[in-house]
Structure formats: structure tokens, C-alpha cells
């Protein structure tokens, strides 16, 4: 399996605060990798660094064989990095289909084709019935799926999912898990940040645990949850103990 | 150009700047409280100047004595404007920003129209007030008394505002509402009441400024427009949300205006203010003291 994404010795400092220190991880093509860790572990920061929201203080990010460290978010999307936001950021005054068309436009310049493509993605994500609704009128779980649909419309090689399963009912979360599996089946690599380990562990091929800005351990989900260091990092968090 | 001229104009610039700060204080307070820019702020000033004028003309009350009365009148006026117009603008679910801009802007036009209707477009002025037209010499520098009193009033108002916001229950309620209106409702503070009082207070501050301005400035229905833009720039320069930024912003605007008038023809004196505003926000997009 070849490597799709790699971070090499990435640091991120905000003033005196170190959010990521010397983080080196890699994600192989076709994998589903979970990025987990307690609150404040630096998951979201690392995520934003990979998506290109801000450049790292130090270190480099390699995507698809190229150094993308200095590229802005839009350029990374062009190269195949798609993302969702933890706090959903729908285009509220636009319809659901128009939201997705924005994503589809990066690969299709003809409007008719972009619209067609967007509709296919909506069907894939189970939102086709909602196509003409305003994004503002969707229920929260639908908004999460819209985030995924919009990112998929950009035809990413790597899909970054930021807590898409958190805060959903068990049934909704299960639908979400199936959607992620379907996405992978189409050949898209998935890196997902999750806080709820119970849901994400059966789904991922590999888990990377961050704690205090550093990589604590990485490995198969079953091994990771038994790791004493992980348990102590999550101490008091019933998900870790329960798993 | 002698050193004396420069010091003389900087001194008058400073006084005018403090007065600008006082004019802008209400705007900054209201924005800080509820993220609304009052596009009728200049017309509030205009109303305050007319109130001062009529108290003087009909009851022979000197503007200096009238100032507290004008402030009280404007307090009521501000609270009423909130309850009748702004309260509804806050409810808009779509285009909230535009609704706020244009409902207060429409109000400004109505106020100008009403002023023309009732007071006619004629220019009026307060003649023979206690301090009008008088100057005082300090170390060879001549300072106009009305502006000097205005500047002292401005400093006093900001000091009072500081204690009010930090030391009183109502001040704390304002601050809390500003931070989280939803949570405030949970602890039993009526959001509308706080906002109405905030608007009243903001208007009262501009009322004080208007009473002083009436001493040395012509009073006519469009007078607010000339000061409104300066007030917006003053607040933005200091940084929206920071009441004391408006104080610093006012001083800067006054000094820059005086300096520009020394270098460029008088008709271009505002160019300096605008250029400094652009310069500041291009470097600090949220003004000098605005939170990021």
C-alpha cells in the first residue's frame, strides 16, 4: 500500500501554547484511519494543518507525493483533499443541491454536468429527496451528511471527516458509519477525527491516538484500546474503559 | 508655519477630538452591546442640538445648564427608538445586517424630514450663551471655551462610563448581555430592558455632546450627516466593541484633522482622517483596540 498523506515533524504553536509537537503520521491509500484522543489533544489543529487552513509553525506535509505545506486550503482541495467541519458550515441561504454544486464546480466547468454530478452525490449520500430544500431547513444529522456530500463532490482522494458522528442518535450514527464504508468502497481514503471511540473503532483500519499534542500510539483499533497509556490518557472517560 | 501655530492647532485638534470621542461613545456602546450600528446616530446628535436650541430660545436656559436635561430627553428618545424600531430589526432572521442598516437609515431620513417639517431647513444658532465665542489663554495658547468644556465633559463622561460598566449592577448586566444574551435570559434579566436602557444611555451620551456642539455650531436638519461619518470612523478606528477605543479614536481623529488642515487646503481636512482609518484597518483589520 502506497502512502497518500504524510506529516513530517509537524509543530504548531499559538503564542506560548504548543498544539502539535513533532507529529509524524502517515495515511495509506484506501485506508480508513481514525485520529482520536481526549479533548485538547491537538486533533483539530492537526486536521486544520492537513486541510491547509493555516501553515504549520515547523515541519512539512506531503500529499500524493508532493510537498503541500505552503499551499492554501483551496489549492489543496484542487489536489484532492476534501473536508468537513466539526461545527457545520452549510451555505445556509442556498439549496441543498446548490451547496453541493459549489463543490462539484472544481472538477466540472459546465454547469449542466456539475448539477448532474451534484445530484448523483446527493443520491449517494441519501439526500436526494432534500435537493431543493434550503440548507438552513435541514435537521442537524442531514446537515452533517450535506457536509460530506459537498466534500465528496470535489472528488477528493483524501476525505477528512471532523467529528461527523459525534452528537448523533445511535441510528443516525449507524447510517453515518455505513456512508463512510461506502465512501471508502469508491476508492477514497478517509481520515476521521472522532471523540466517541465506541463508534469509530469498528470502522477504522488503524487508529492514531494523540495526547497533549503528540502521537501517543498508533495501531489496530483493538490493540490501541487495550494500550495502558491510552487508557490513562482517557482516564475517567467511560468510552475508553468500556471498549 | 511657526511652532506656535502648530501647537495652537494641535491643542484645538485635541479638544475637538475629545468631543468626537463623546459623540462616538454612544455608537460604540450600542454596538458593543448588541452588534448593531445605528445609522441614525448623526440624527440623534441633530435632535440633541435642536433640544438645546429650543431650551435656550424659549426658556433662556443656557446650554451648559441644559446639558443634563438634553441628555435625559435623549435617553428617553433612544429607549423609545429601540422599543419601536430596533427591537423589530433584531428579530429579522434573514439579512439581519442589512435590515439593521436600512431600518436605522430609514429612521434617519424620517428624523431629518420631521426636523425640516417642524423646525424648517433654516440655520439656527445659540447666540449669547455664557461661553459661546469666548476663548481662554493658557501659556500663550488660545483655547475656545465651549470646546474646552466639551473636552472636559468628554473625559468626565468616559470616567463615569468606566465606573458604570465595571462597578454597577446594571453595568454588569450590560456586559453579561453583551457576552451571551441567551444565558442572561436564563438568570432572569430581561434582554429587551437591558437593550432599551443601553440605547437610552448611548443616546444620552450623544445628548451631552449635542448640548455642547449647539454652542458653537449651526443647527439645521442635515447637521448630523457631517458628524455621523466621523463618528463611525472614530468607533471603527478604536475597534468596534471597545467603548474606550472610541475615546482613543476620537483623540486620534481630532489630532489628524488638525494636522491635515495645516498641510492641505481646509476643504481637504477630512481626507487625513479617512486615510488614517484605511491605514489602521489595513494593518489591523479590527481597529486599534478591537478584539480579534
Amino acid at each position: 500500500m502506497t502512502v497518500l498523506l504524510e506529516t513530517r515533524g509537524v509543530w504548531q504553536r499559538f503564542g506560548g501554547l504548543v498544539a502539535n509537537s513533532d507529529v509524524s503520521i502517515s495515511v495509506g491509500r484506501g485506508e480508513i484511519v481514525g485520529l482520536i484522543g481526549p479533548n485538547g489533544a491537538g486533533k483539530s489543529t492537526l486536521f486544520n494543518l492537513i486541510a491547509g487552513v493555516l501553515p504549520p509553525t515547523q515541519g512539512s506535509i506531503i500529499f500524493d507525493g508532493e510537498d503541500v505545506t505552503k499551499l492554501p486550503a483551496a489549492e489543496r482541495c484542487q489536489r484532492g483533499v476534501g473536508r468537513t467541519f466539526q461545527v457545520v458550515k452549510s451555505f445556509e441561504t442556498m439549496t441543498v443541491i446548490d451547496n453541493v454544486i459549489v463543490g462539484a464546480l472544481i472538477r466540472n466547468t459546465k454547469m449542466r454536468i456539475a448539477r448532474q454530478k451534484a445530484y448523483e452525490v446527493l443520491e449517494f449520500c441519501g439526500l436526494a429527496a432534500r435537493a431543493d430544500k434550503l440548507a438552513a431547513d435541514l435537521v442537524p444529522s442531514e446537515k452533517r451528511r450535506l457536509e460530506v456530500a459537498r466534500a465528496l463532490a470535489t472528488e477528493p482522494k483524501l476525505l477528512l471527516l471532523d467529528e461527523v458522528l459525534t452528537g448523533l442518535t445511535p441510528v443516525e450514527a449507524q447510517t453515518g458509519v455505513e456512508l463512510v464504508r461506502k465512501v471508502r468502497a469508491t476508492g477514497v481514503t478517509v481520515l476521521m477525527v472522532e471523540h466517541v471511540m465506541e463508534i469509530v473503532m469498528p470502522l477504522v483500519d488503524r487508529a492514531i491516538v494523540l495526547n497533549l499534542g503528540k502521537v501517543l500510539v498508533e495501531g489496530k483499533p483493538t490493540e490501541v484500546v487495550r494500550n495502558p497509556e491510552v487508557i490513562s490518557a482517557y482516564l475517567g472517560d467511560r468510552h475508553a474503559v468500556g471498549a | 508655519m511657526t511652532a506656535e501655530t502648530i501647537i495652537q492647532s494641535l491643542a484645538s485638534g485635541l479638544l475637538m477630538g475629545l468631543l468626537y470621542g463623546l459623540i462616538a461613545a454612544g455608537l460604540a456602546l450600542i454596538f458593543g452591546l448588541m452588534d448593531v450600528v445605528n445609522f441614525a446616530h448623526g440624527e440623534f446628535l441633530m435632535i440633541a442640538m435642536y433640544v438645546t436650541f429650543f431650551l435656550f430660545a424659549f426658556f433662556a436656559i443656557d446650554p451648559l445648564l441644559a446639558a443634563p436635561l438634553v441628555a435625559a430627553a435623549l435617553f428617553v428618545f433612544g429607549a423609545v427608538v429601540y422599543l419601536l424600531v430596533v427591537r423589530f430589526a433584531m428579530r429579522a432572521k434573514a439579512n439581519a445586517g442589512m435590515v439593521q442598516i436600512f431600518s436605522t437609515f430609514g429612521l434617519a431620513i424620517v428624523m431629518r424630514g420631521l426636523a425640516q417639517f417642524f423646525f424648517t431647513p433654516d440655520y439656527r444658532s445659540v447666540t449669547n450663551s455664557w461661553v459661546g465665542g469666548k476663548t481662554i489663554s493658557i501659556g500663550g495658547i488660545y483655547l475656545p471655551e465651549p470646546q474646552l468644556i466639551g473636552a472636559m465633559l468628554s473625559i468626565a463622561a468616559f470616567v463615569a462610563l468606566y465606573f458604570f460598566i465595571n462597578r454597577t449592577d446594571f453595568g454588569r448586566a450590560l456586559e453579561a448581555t453583551r457576552e451571551d444574551a441567551g444565558a442572561v435570559a436564563l438568570v432572569g434579566i430581561d434582554k429587551n430592558r437591558v437593550f432599551a436602557l443601553g440605547w437610552g444611555l448611548g443616546a444620552a451620551l450623544v445628548g451631552l455632546a449635542g448640548a455642547i456642539m449647539a454652542i458653537f455650531f449651526y443647527i439645521y436638519p442635515d447637521v448630523g450627516a457631517s458628524f455621523a461619518l466621523i463618528a463611525y470612523v472614530t468607533v471603527a478606528l478604536g475597534g468596534f466593541g471597545s467603548v474606550f477605543g472610541a475615546f482613543a479614536g476620537g483623540i486620534i481623529v481630532g489630532l489628524v484633522e488638525a494636522t491635515t488642515a495645516l498641510i492641505l487646503p481646509p476643504s481637504l481636512k477630512s481626507v487625513g482622517i479617512y486615510a488614517v482609518y484605511l491605514l489602521v484597518v489595513f494593518i489591523r483589520p479590527r481597529g486599534l483596540f478591537g478584539s480579534m
Binding site: R83, I101, D132 | K93, F105, L107, L278
Partner: protein, 328 residues
């Protein structure tokens, strides 16, 4: 769903064509100069507001300094004609091009600003330009420019005997501004702009270069507004800084779109058709007293519409059609 969308776009186009045809026929029946004047202004404001709407409505960058581009168009045309004898048609294109370039040059630093900081920057930039022109002797300073009459001709775009040609040009301009918007609405730019307005971070994550999108909107918007300014200079044949570049103008340009429905295709047209005749009528019938009744009516109307219909007058139409569909 695809056909539904295409149907709506086609319906818009047909409605617009019908309205334009009706408007073109009106002068055959109405010969009144006063009414003609109101119609010209209505069409001009429809065009201006439609253009303003591209940057401020679709792309969400609220400009209250568009008088700058209007004035640039008017001044470029008038100066080129009076000083160098350049035909107004070239002046119009030159004014548009200059405005587009200046809009982008100003956008470069300004588009980093957000919210009220941006709005105030647009206001003060237009004010600086106004003050500079007022002090520019070669351009007539505060007195402005009187455009000399050289006889009626389309070549020189001057008509003294009948105002009718101006009417048809204003109609064409309104149609062009509408068509440009109609076309852009369903182009990648249209989608990018709306995405940028709603959520720039999300737009950026989907490959939209937010900065470039804003620049594009600013250039198109400024170009069209400047063409409107060129037209106005010819129409009134006398311009001065305050009357073409004053702050009031920026607001007058924004109002039809805001009251009609900001960020919508029909908002500016609807807003202009209702607002401009009303303004002119109140001004003539109750404004003559000089007692500000016209201002009171006008201001109250703005307050009432913006409070009652935050989405603008077009929302009345969509409510009606929504009810019709529900009744089916």
C-alpha cells in the same frame, strides 16, 4: 429536478423579455415629459442596483461607496468629451474599464476587512475621491462640468429635443445588467459568490479562491455602475462632484436591491419600479413645500419594508406562488 430548474431559468428569461417589450412600447402611449423622466430614472436605478447587487447581494461584500464608480464613469466620459473630443461611447467603455481596474486595486487591501470595517472603508474611499475631485481645478472642481451641446445625434449620444433616445438606452442598460446577472447566477461565479457570502471558510475548503471571487464581483459590478454614470452625465448634460459622487448616491443605488430583495435576480428591478416613481412623486407633490414631508414618507417606507419584509418585496411573490403550489 434538473428540468424544474431549467424551466425556472427559462421562465425568468421569458418574463424579462415580456416586461422589456412592454416597457419599450410605453412611450408610444405616454407623451408626458415628466413621466418620461421618471421612467428613465427608474430604469437607470434598476440597472445600477442590479450591478450593485452583484458585489453586495450575491457576493455579500456590502459596499456603500459605489457612488465612486458612478462618478468615475460620469467624469471620465465628460472629461474625455469636453477636453479631448472623445465620443461618449468610448468614454463609457473607458470609464467602465477604469472603474473595474480601480475596484480591483481597492479590493486588494479592502477584501481582507470584514463586516462594518469593510462597509466603512467603502464609504471613506468614496468620500476621499469626492473631496479630491472637488479640489481638482482641471476637472472643474466643485463647480463641475457643463457638457456642451453639439446637436442631436446617436454618434455623440446627445439629444436635446426629445428625451426618448435616453429612455431606450436606459432600457437597454437595465436589460443588459439583468441579463448579465441572469447569466452569472447559473455560472461558476454565481455559485462561488453565494458560497463566499454564506461561509468563506467552507467555500475555501471546496476549492473556491475567496479573494479572486470577490475581485471578479467587484470588477463586473464597478464596470456596469460606471456605464450607468456615463449615461447619467449625457442625460443631465451637467455634472458636479456632489451630484454624481455623493454618499447619498451610494445609498440610492443600494436601496432598490435591499427593499426589492438583496441577492436576488428580480429584487433590484422590483425595488426600482416601486421606489423611484414613489420618490419622484412624493418629491413633486408634497416635497414642493420644502418641509420634508417627502423625506418622512420615503424614510418611513424604508423602515416599514425593511422591518416587515427582511427578504425584500420579492418574498411576497414567492409566498404567493408557494401558496398556489400548496393549494394544488
Amino acid at each position: 429536478m434538473d428540468t424544474h430548474f431549467a424551466q425556472r431559468r427559462r421562465r425568468d428569461l421569458i418574463v424579462a423579455a415580456c416586461l422589456a417589450a412592454i416597457a419599450a412600447l410605453v412611450p408610444l402611449f405616454v407623451k408626458d415629459v415628466y413621466v418620461e423622466n421618471i421612467m428613465v430614472l427608474t430604469l437607470m436605478y434598476a440597472a445600477l442596483s442590479q450591478s450593485w447587487n452583484i458585489l453586495s447581494g450575491y457576493c455579500g461584500q456590502i459596499s456603500l461607496g459605489h457612488a465612486l464608480y458612478f462618478g468615475l464613469g460620469a467624469y471620465t466620459t465628460a472629461l474625455l468629451f469636453t477636453k479631448f473630443g472623445v465620443l461618449p461611447w468610448f468614454g463609457m467603455l473607458a470609464g467602465g474599464a477604469i472603474s473595474a481596474v480601480i475596484a480591483m486595486a481597492l479590493g486588494y487591501p479592502c477584501f481582507r476587512l470584514r463586516g462594518h470595517y469593510f462597509v466603512i472603508a467603502t464609504i471613506v474611499i468614496a468620500e476621499i475621491a469626492l473631496l479630491l475631485i472637488q479640489n481638482w481645478d482641471w476637472a472643474g472642481a466643485a463647480l463641475g462640468i457643463d457638457i456642451p451641446v453639439r446637436g442631436d445625434s446617436w454618434l455623440k449620444f446627445q439629444f436635446t429635443r426629445s428625451k426618448l433616445p435616453y429612455f431606450y438606452f436606459a432600457l437597454a442598460l437595465a436589460c443588459i445588467a439583468w441579463l448579465v446577472t441572469w447569466w452569472l447566477e447559473d455560472s461558476k461565479w454565481g455559485y462561488w459568490w453565494r458560497a463566499v457570502k454564506d461561509n468563506p471558510d467552507a467555500a475555501e475548503s471546496l476549492g473556491v479562491v475567496v479573494f479572486n471571487s470577490k475581485m471578479g464581483a467587484a470588477a463586473v459590478s464597478a464596470f456596469l455602475v460606471a456605464v450607468g454614470g456615463s449615461f447619467y452625465a449625457q442625460f443631465v448634460s451637467y455634472i458636479d462632484p456632489e451630484s454624481v459622487m455623493g454618499f447619498q448616491f451610494s445609498l440610492l443605488m443600494a436601496l432598490p436591491a435591499v427593499l426589492g430583495g438583496i441577492g436576488t435576480l428580480w429584487g433590484p428591478v422590483l425595488g426600482a419600479v416601486i421606489l423611484i416613481p414613489l420618490t419622484e412623486l412624493t418629491r413633486s407633490f408634497v416635497g414642493g413645500s420644502g418641509r420634508g414631508v417627502d423625506l418622512i414618507v420615503y424614510g418611513a417606507l424604508i423602515v416599514a419594508i425593511s422591518l416587515a419584509l427582511p427578504k425584500g418585496l420579492v418574498s411576497v411573490f414567492s409566498m404567493l406562488s408557494g401558496r398556489k403550489e400548496a393549494a394544488r
